[in-house]
C-alpha cells in the first residue's frame, strides 16, 4: 500500500499579501511599490518603510535575478518535501533590489557562485497555489 503524501505547507494569505499570491497564479511576480515615494518592498506588508505611506501599487518584476546565497536541503524537516530532496534553495537578488527565496530548477546538479545570473519561473503546485522558482539564466 502506498502512503499518501501529506500536503505541503500552504501560505496563510492576508489582505496585505493577496495580490502577490493572485499574481503568482497568473505567472506574474508582483512587488509592492509605494505610490508616494516610489520605494519597492518585499515581502508584502502594509506600510512603506521609507515614508510610512499605506498607498501602494503592485508592479511586475522583470524576472531577472542573481545568486545572493543558497542552501541545499538534504534533510526533510517536513514530510511533504521528502521525495524532492536534495533541493537547492536559493536566496536571490531581484533586479528590482529586493530578494526572493525559491527552489532552483535544474536538469543536473550545478555548482553555484555568488552573483550568478538567474531567471524567475513559476511552479503550479495545484490549481489554487503557484510558487516562484528560479532557473539558471541560459544567457548568463
Amino acid at each position: 500500500m502506498s502512503q499518501a503524501m501529506p500536503p505541503k505547507p500552504r501560505p496563510e494569505i492576508t489582505e496585505d499579501s493577496r495580490p502577490y499570491w493572485d499574481g503568482l497564479r497568473q505567472h506574474r511576480l508582483l512587488l509592492q511599490c509605494c505610490t508616494d515615494c516610489g520605494r519597492l518592498r518585499h515581502y508584502p506588508r502594509p506600510l512603506c518603510d521609507a515614508c510610512h505611506s499605506f498607498a501602494c501599487d503592485w508592479v511586475e518584476a522583470c524576472g531577472a535575478a542573481h545568486v545572493h546565497s543558497w542552501t541545499v536541503a538534504h534533510h526533510a524537516f517536513h514530510p511533504a518535501f521528502r521525495n524532492e530532496l536534495p533541493t537547492v534553495l536559493v536566496t536571490a537578488d531581484l533586479a528590482e533590489g529586493v530578494r526572493l527565496l525559491a527552489p532552483l530548477q535544474t536538469e543536473a546538479p550545478v555548482t553555484l557562485q555568488l552573483g550568478q545570473r538567474l531567471q524567475v519561473g513559476y511552479w503550479d503546485v495545484d490549481p489554487s497555489l503557484t510558487v516562484p522558482v528560479l532557473r539558471l539564466d541560459e544567457n548568463g
Binding site: P9, P11, H42, S69, V72, H74, F77, L89, L114, P132
Partner: protein, 384 residues
C-alpha cells in the same frame, strides 16, 4: 542611574539532561530546576516575588509557579519570547524588575520536552515565524537549519570560511561536554567525524546542529543589595541588552545576512560594563549551530568580520585556549535548554564551581542568546 551592577544571579539549578525525560512533563522539569535554583540562592519558594518566562515552555505560565510553589505575593510576571535569545533577554527583564524596586528575587525557569514535536512544526506555530511561514515554508524552507544555512554559505563564499573551521567548534564543545558530567553527548569526536556526518542543510552537517533535549534549567535574579549576605560569591550582571537585526522577520530580505542582531547590542553592553572583549575570560555563546557561534564571535568584537574561521582554529575555544567557549558543552553537546544552561554555566565558572572545566580564577565572563531569525542578547557578568 545605570542598571549595571544592580542585579545579581544568586541561584542556579538544572535537572539531568536526557533524550527522553521518561514521563516527566515540561512543567515538572521547570519546577525541579526552580527548586534547585531557589535552594542554591539560600531562599525559600515564598521569597520569590517575580517570574520571567524566557520561552514558551510547554504550556506553562507564571500562574503554574504561583500554584505549585505557593508563592504568596507575586508582584511581577513577564515573558521574553525571543526564541533562543529569550533566556538572556529574561536576565535583562528581571534585572530591570529588581533595579526598579518592584521585586527582590525573580525566578527564570526553562524546561522542555523538545523531542515530542518536530522542530519544523514547532517553529511554524510561533508568531515570530509568521512571515517566513507564509512566504518561505511553501517553497520548502521550513526549519531553522534551512533559514540559517544561507548565512553560513555566504560567509564561506565571501570570507573563505570552511566546514573544517565549523568542525573545530563542534569538536571543542564536545570535549567540554565530556568534562561536565551532565551532558547528553559523552563520546569524543574528531574533525573527520564532523566531515563524515550527514549533510542536513548545506553547509550545515549533523554535527553542526544542536541536540533536541529534555530537561530543565532555572536561575534566580536578585536585587544586588539582597544578595550581599548570600552564601555563594555574588555574581553581578554588569552589562546587558537586546539587539534586533534589520529585517528581523526574515533573513532573506536582510541587507547584510552575515551580521546578527548581537552586533548592535555588543558595543552598548560592553560600554555599560566598562570592559572590552579582550577582558573576557570565559564566554558561553548560544550555539544552536556551529556557524552561529562563529558569527557571534565576530559580531561581539573578538575578531573582525570575516576572520571568525581563523579565530576558532587550533583549539582556540578550548580550556587553555585564547577564549574558552561553552565550557559546559553547549546546545551542541550538553543539551538544548534554550540557552538557560549557558547562564547556569557562566555563574558556575564565576563562582569557581565548574569542576574539571573550570577556567582558572574566572572573574569576568559573558553569555549570549540567539533566537528566531537573528535576535541577539548579551549579558556580561562579574564576580566581586
Amino acid at each position: 542611574m545605570s542598571i549595571s551592577g544592580r542585579a545579581a544571579v544568586t541561584g542556579i539549578g538544572d535537572t539531568d539532561y536526557t533524550r527522553d525525560a521518561s514521563g516527566r512533563s515540561a512543567l515538572m522539569l521547570q519546577l525541579e530546576a526552580s527548586l534547585k535554583a531557589i535552594a542554591d540562592a539560600g531562599l525559600r519558594p515564598h521569597d520569590i516575588d517575580g517570574i520571567v518566562m524566557p520561552i514558551p515552555s510547554g504550556a506553562s505560565v507564571a500562574e503554574d509557579f504561583v500554584t505549585n510553589l505557593s508563592i504568596p505575593d507575586l508582584r511581577y510576571s513577564a515573558a521574553t519570547p525571543l526564541g533562543g535569545a529569550g533566556s538572556v533577554a529574561a536576565l535583562q527583564c528581571a534585572a530591570m524588575a529588581v533595579a526598579s524596586g518592584i521585586c527582590r528575587h525573580v525566578l527564570l525557569p526553562v524546561g522542555r520536552t523538545g523531542r515530542t514535536q518536530r522542530i519544523g512544526a514547532r517553529v511554524q506555530a510561533m508568531p515570530q515565524f509568521r512571515t517566513v511561514g507564509e512566504f518561505e515554508a511553501p517553497v520548502g524552507a521550513v526549519a531553522p537549519a534551512q533559514y540559517y544555512a544561507p548565512m553560513a554559505r555566504r560567509h564561506m563564499e565571501l570570507f573563505g570560511t570552511t566546514s573544517r573551521q565549523l568542525a573545530e567548534i563542534a569538536v571543542t564543545t564536545r570535549q567540554h561536554a565530556i568534562l561536565n558530567g551532565n551532558a547528553r553527548m559523552t563520546k569524543p569526536i574528531t574533525i573527520e567525524d564532523h566531515q563524515a556526518s550527514r549533510m542536513i542543510a548545506d553547509p550545515l552537517r549533523l554535527l553542526d546542529c544542536s541536540l533536541e533535549s529534555d530537561g530543565g534549567a532555572a536561575v534566580i535574579v536578585s536585587a544586588a543589595e539582597c544578595a550581599r549576605d548570600a552564601a555563594k560569591p555574588r555574581v553581578l550582571i554588569t552589562g546587558m541588552g537586546e539587539g534586533h537585526p534589520d529585517s528581523p522577520s526574515t533573513i532573506t530580505q536582510r541587507a547584510d545576512i552575515t551580521r546578527l542582531g548581537i552586533a548592535k547590542v555588543a558595543p552598548r553592553a560592553f560600554a555599560m560594563a566598562g570592559v572590552a572583549p579582550g577582558d573576557i575570560q570565559v564566554a558561553e555563546i548560544y550555539d544552536c549551530f556551529t556557524y552561529i557561534v562563529l558569527c557571534q564571535l565576530e559580531d561581539l568584537g573578538f575578531c573582525p568580520k570575516g576572520e571568525g574561521g581563523r579565530f576558532v582554529e587550533g583549539g582556540a575555544l578550548g580550556l587553555g585556549g585564547r577564549l574558552p567557549v561553552n565550557t559546559h558543552g553547549g546546545l551542541l553537546s550538553q543539551a538544548h535548554m534554550a540557552g538557560m544552561n549557558h547562564v547556569v554555566e557562566l555563574v558556575r565558572q564565576l563562582r569557581g564551581e565548574a569542576g574539571q572545566a573550570q577556567v582558572p580564577d574566572a572573574r569576568l565572563g559573558l553569555v549570549t542568546g540567539y533566537g528566531d531569525l537573528g535576535d541577539g542578547t548579551l549579558a556580561i557578568m562579574a564576580r566581586e
